[in-house]
Amino acid sequence: MTEKMSIRMSGLGGQGVVTAAHILGMAAYKDDLQVTVNPFFGAEKRLAPAESYVRIAQEPIYERGEILYPSLIMVFHPHVITMGKSYTMPFFDGLEAGGTIIINSASALDLSEEERDNLAKLDAQVHYVPASEVAMGVSGTHLSTNIAMLGALYRIQQRPSLDALESAMVERFGGSKFVASGSTAALDDAVKEKFAKVSQMIEKNLEVIEKAGESMFQQTH
């Protein structure tokens, strides 16, 4: 990896946007990369817009806070785009030229002509992944949608490594008491309830990652 990755994840509260960022960040850390992770700065409410930001690089990272000029945008829910459930409008605002977008949707979204024009001008690479369907199909819960999104990211970037992702998930769900925020901790408990054993959960999540990668498709402008 030579390029700095500046990732903006947009979704709805409760989808695990913040958790996904933490797992990704932890994995990058385990791969000995420089990394900072932060959630959006606001009140956390279910189904309200939620964002988180991950910066990964080989060089030291100075900047903090929300990422205004991402190289990668991950949209965890179609409503972010179709219903404007986002603090960042349009959803690709600030995307670097040639940047990548990953959208959770089973079918390509009906983007406006203006949106398509702008994406074309940016030479944006738009990928889709049916993350919710994969999550439901493999692990029987939409709560691993965020993991499916990480699977799609892995498919494209191959970084951080799969091993690192796995051990990041073990660390996150395996009982180490990390508290991102009050509400996120409550969500963790909900996830854990769904799985008898953490190891089983990790196994399922790895399968989610793989399946998500396999079910991606691209949209041309």
């Binding site: 900072t36 100075y62 806070g65 508290v179 009050g182």
Partner: protein, 380 residues
């Protein structure tokens, strides 16, 4: 709970082997307090501080902190920690933004009572309009409360400054409260890489007999002070009492300099200090300035950086020297009022060279390119 060994502050700060961790700012608070040998911690929720005090609560449950409870509001919390400190134990608390304002009446009392309270101010905006986002405006209000004020840029700073704060606060010749400030969210909720010593060591316990005023424990002679308290009549004795006491607090702040210099490695930190244009700031505005400096230097612009670590005492001499002869001094700030620019202007030889910009506040990050724009504008 880990078996912990009491080690000297110098061991913990300078000699202990440090290990790499990936932590949020809130977790950095927990790791500092785990090693700080705190007796009493009192909490009250406010975003973005709450996670820190949740984690301190966990430390209490594990046995690292001896006493912990949730107070009823910030004014009460700041009152209760003052009571505990007066009665001779090491205390810790944290708040931010509206919590700071709610508690305000207590802060001058802390310094006035010479209490070595350590408080983390995890800063945020102040209403109205309603905000919970990062902003450092509360620091403007706290400047003259008599407390020492350290400003962390990163989770690493937050961890290190908290531990060091206890030791500086408790020096007999200082014995003042220390506020350790970190920008809410940008530090508290950001996970980053830190190097910290293991938790098998902890600071020596607080010794209440190092206090310049006796602890309130009825273990020393209860002195009858006077029949007619000063407050009953304005007169020379009343003036003299206040003048000497308040100046003594100022003097105690001054006496903290040498300790802060040693423990923090200086009240400021510089990079390319010979450059034509200097960015001078504190907190996470330093991080954004680092990126701006990197971008500018890539273009061949002569830009340097000064990070201010201690706001009280203020590094006046250092900054006057550094600012002397510069083409411009740019002070980016995460608040509307520009309190840091005002502080600087009051101290440098040529205040006209100090530019209080950019200012971002009320909820968003400070884009590095805003700082770059300001540098370009100045150099044109």
């Amino acid at each position: 709970m880990l078996q912990q060994q009491v080690r000297s502050p110098d061991y913990l700060f300078f000699e202990a082997e440090k290990k790499k961790h990936f932590l949020s700012g809130s977790e950095a608070v927990r790791e500092a307090i785990r090693k700080a040998n705190v007796d009493v911690a009192i909490s009250y929720p406010i975003t973005p501080q709450s996670e820190s005090m949740h984690l301190v609560g966990d430390l209490f449950a594990e046995g690292y902190v001896k006493e912990y409870f949730r107070g009823e509001n910030e004014f009460a919390v700041m009152s209760s920690v003052s009571g505990a400190a007066m009665a001779g134990v090491r205390v810790f608390t944290a708040t931010g933004g509206p919590g700071t304002m709610r508690a305000f009446e207590m802060f001058p009392v802390w310094a006035g009572s010479r209490l070595p309270i350590v408080c983390a101010f995890l800063t945020r905006g102040i209403n109205s309009p309603l905000t919970i986002q990062p902003d450092t405006i509360e620091m403007a209000f706290l400047l003259e409360t008599g407390m020492l004020m350290l400003h962390a840029e990163t989770a690493q700073d937050l961890h290190d400054m908290l531990l060091k704060a206890f030791i500086v606060a408790e020096k007999t010749e200082v014995h003042l409260p220390v506020g350790v400030f970190a920008d809410g969210f940008f530090v508290t909720h950001t996970k980053e890489i830190l190097q910290i010593p293991d938790a098998d060591s902890k600071l020596p316990p607080y010794d209440p007999h190092c206090a310049p005023v006796p602890p309130m424990d009825m273990e020393s002679v209860p002195v009858r002070q006077m029949r007619d308290p000063f407050v009953m009549k304005s007169n020379f004795i009343s003036y003299a009492a206040h003048a000497s006491w308040q100046q003594e607090i100022e003097a105690a702040q001054e006496r903290s300099r040498k300790h802060l210099e040693r423990y923090l490695g200086g009240l400021v930190e510089t990079e390319h200090e010979d450059a034509e244009v200097l960015l001078i700031t504190s907190g996470t505005a330093v991080s954004q300035s680092r990126e701006a400096m990197r971008l500018c230097r890539q273009e061949g612009l002569s830009v340097g950086l000064v990070k201010i670590k201690s706001i009280r005492p203020f590094p006046s001499d250092e900054l006057r020297r550094l600012a002397a002869g510069k083409y411009a001094v740019i002070v980016p700030e995460l608040n509307r009022v520009g309190w840091l620019a005002k502080e600087l202007k009051a101290r440098v030889d040529d205040p006209r060279r100090v530019i209080g910009a950019p200012r971002v506040f009320g909820g968003m990050t400070m884009p590095a390119h805003l700082i770059v724009d300001e540098i370009r504008r100045v150099l044109q």
